[in-house]
Amino acid sequence: MSDQPLNTVGKSELRRDGLSHVTGKTQYIDDIQFPDMLYLKMVRSPLHHARILGIDFSEAEKVPGFVRAFTYKDVPKNLYTILCLIGVGPDEEPVLAEKEVLYKGEQIAAIVAQSEEAAIEAAARVKVDLEELPAVFDVEEALKPGAPILKPWGTNYFVYEGHPFRRVRYGNIEQGFTQADYIVEGCYEPKPIEHAPLETTGCVAKPEANGRITVYTNTQALYFSMDNTALILNVPFNKLHFVGGTVGGGFGGKVDVIVEPIAALAAMHTGHPVKYLYTREEEFHVSSTRVAYRIYFKDGVSKDGHIVARQVTSYADSGAYNRHTPYAVTKHAANISGPYDIPNVHIDAHCVYTNRVPTSAMRGFGVTSASFATELQMDKIARKVGMDPFEIRLLNAYRNGDMRPYQKVVGDATLVEVIQSAADMAHHPLGERFQAMNSWDRANSPARPEPVSAQKES
């Protein structure tokens, strides 16, 4: 990059696909039609936790237009974990349920038919014989002795390299508490949330004459979805061809790999294009949600408002399966001490399984909950020590050169500047000492760079 003034970066060029979106010209998955296309609908669990005793397709097969039913026996590698591609395991979610269902709405069998109506009708006529089992919905109840155990490894939590939770240890937490004048505790509970994209999750899988399968999909991650699909179908990666790149709203909801493997399997077996597109109700009831958390804070605070110790015990509700939540919990653990410089930090972040629809990635991945909890806790601390909410944040804000609890030196911090600017915008007066602060004011801070606006003015 040169020192020359920028030509295009920094300009509000007109968004290239904007007109197409707002005039309805953009092609989404539901717009894709092929003359011989089949429709896929799921038979789903009506119970939160049950043993599958049998499935009877005989009435479904009588529906005009019925083509085929699929069960787990048809899926070459039925057990998977999306994040196996980055080494997260073990495989624990079935594409189609085998002996047991762990949440209401879980996929048991796929029905493929010549029309959407026939697929819905046939799926409704499938009789699944279920024996209801006790279910658990509360993250702390799930960890108590006597709770129904959901995982083959004998616990209801994800194991982090031998530990029952993700740990962050920095400084000396007990010593930190002895230095505190106040102990401020809190419990924060953000609830699960739906991504609510305009375009529901879906794909069309089309067999080609050359033996490959083209999958038109609204995934947020083409290779990620394709690689997982190839592993589940046990086919070479290059047998698949994924086409997409224009997504009608994602927010993290379209990085689970749920629709593509089963649609591609059905296309391979029937020789027809197969569409599997969630209804709005499926999007709400069976697609992953934002992770719900229960987060306990115990902070040691000095009279002058410095946070000297922070102990957090956090429970993430993964729902019935991993999806992306074990990874989100690590990111949560990295961020739950907030953008503040705290010398003693002790984090236990649990990833817990319950009989709930799986939770997964959503905009803010592990950090939305962290920001919610830390910022409510900051106000609680401010009230306890009698400080202004802007000033207590400025006092504790991390600076460039500080060490984070995960042992990385801060390099691009500007928290002080955004707080000062917001106070200015809101006409909120700050004490002189707080106006004089900046993100490069530690003895070991690097030199303060020039902001872009100053570069433009010069």
Partner: protein
């Protein structure tokens, strides 16, 4: 019973890129004989304007007009690997990959221009208007179309480049949690003003004042759109939205937009936005990822404002009228 006003703030960070890294993205650039640069990717546009922003970074790093750059993405047969559009990563990752590819393509472009203009490659410069010219002699110049034709038909040269951004995954120490969870950090501070009806429990957000520091803005209008859209999404999270309103009970799950309430036009508050730019150490032109965080920052600011208005300690979201009325009851029974 009254309508009470309150103010609340939040100040937050957001990391760019997948936690721990290990999330590469590639870009390939080639110039066609029309004088157009095609940037081949497999990244997905979720509606945030990725195809536009990446074309701007491509044009800037090649030194050519925005109109001369096309983004070709969304096909695994033609686009090189991208980990995916998530983790506020794609402008940072794909942007860096594009700059790397552009440097290679630009080198050949300047060599061809030098041959055509009978000058040395190191004396060539782009004018950003569609010409390559000799430094100090602005009249000695060649248009991109002529340059592309000469490269192909006269010199037998391809103008192309390959780029990748790769931050290795260095893992995590399971005992201490030592890790490298970001490439850079964007920051925000949001001030919320609310009015709470203590009879109905309804909350109205009157104003959101937002300051974001995002390294460098590639496209200020799209930045503004992202902040406004994220603010409204955050408002919905703060006040209305949950798939399980009585969590942890799984009962009463909404199944459509009549039951699952999203913010609508009348709920959109007055918004004031300010963007600061301190270029990051490793982003393309100093960019930081900020897509996700615009929905994070408003939530605690709004809930803090509600608690400020009522003197309550609500610690969940969404703060529905039921949550407000229960918190007021709890406060009353305490006093």
């Amino acid at each position: 019973m009254a309508k009470l006003k309150g103010t609340g703030i939040s100040s937050v960070n957001y990391p760019t890129g997948m936690n721990l890294g290990g999330d590469p993205t590639q870009a390939l650039i080639h110039m066609t004989t029309t004088g157009t640069f095609v940037i081949s990717l497999a990244s997905c546009d979720l509606g945030q304007g990725l195809k536009t922003v990446l074309a701007q970074i491509g044009a800037e790093s090649l030194g050519v007009p925005f109109e001369n750059v096309l983004i070709d993405t969304g096909d695994t047969d033609t686009g090189p690997h991208c980990m995916g559009t998530f983790a506020s990563r794609t402008t940072h990752r794909a942007g860096n990959a594009i700059i790397m590819a552009a440097q290679e393509a630009r080198k050949t472009m300047l060599e061809i221009a030098a041959d055509e203009l009978e000058a040395r490659p190191e004396d060539m410069e782009t004018d950003g208007q569609g010409f390559v010219r000799v430094k100090g002699s602005p009249d000695r110049k060649i248009h991109l179309v002529n340059l592309a034709l000469a490269g192909h038909f006269k010199y037998g040269k391809t103008v192309a480049g390959r780029g990748i951004f790769f931050k290795p995954n260095l893992g995590i120490d399971p005992e201490t949690g030592k890790m490298d969870p970001d490439s850079t950090e964007a920051h925000a501070c949001v001030v919320a003003e609310v009015e709470v009806d203590t009879e109905t429990g309804e909350v109205k957000v009157l104003k959101l004042q937002s300051v974001y520091e995002i390294g460098r803005q590639v496209n200020p209008k799209l930045v503004e759109g992202q902040i406004k859209g994220g603010s409204v999404m955050g408002l919905g999270h703060a006040l209305y939205e949950s798939t399980e309103p009585y969590y942890p009970s799984p009962e009463h799950r909404p199944g459509g937009f009549f039951e699952y309430i999203l913010p609508l036009a009348p709920d959109v508050p007055e918004m004031e936005i300010r963007v600061l730019e301190f270029p990051s150490q490793n982003g393309p032109y100093g960019v930081k990822g900020f897509g996700e965080m615009t929905a994070n920052a408003p939530i605690p600011a709004i809930v803090n404002a509600i608690n400020n208005a009522l003197g309550t300690e609500i610690a969940t979201h969404p703060v529905t009228p039921e949550v407000v009325l229960k918190a007021l009851d709890a406060k009353q029974s305490k006093s």
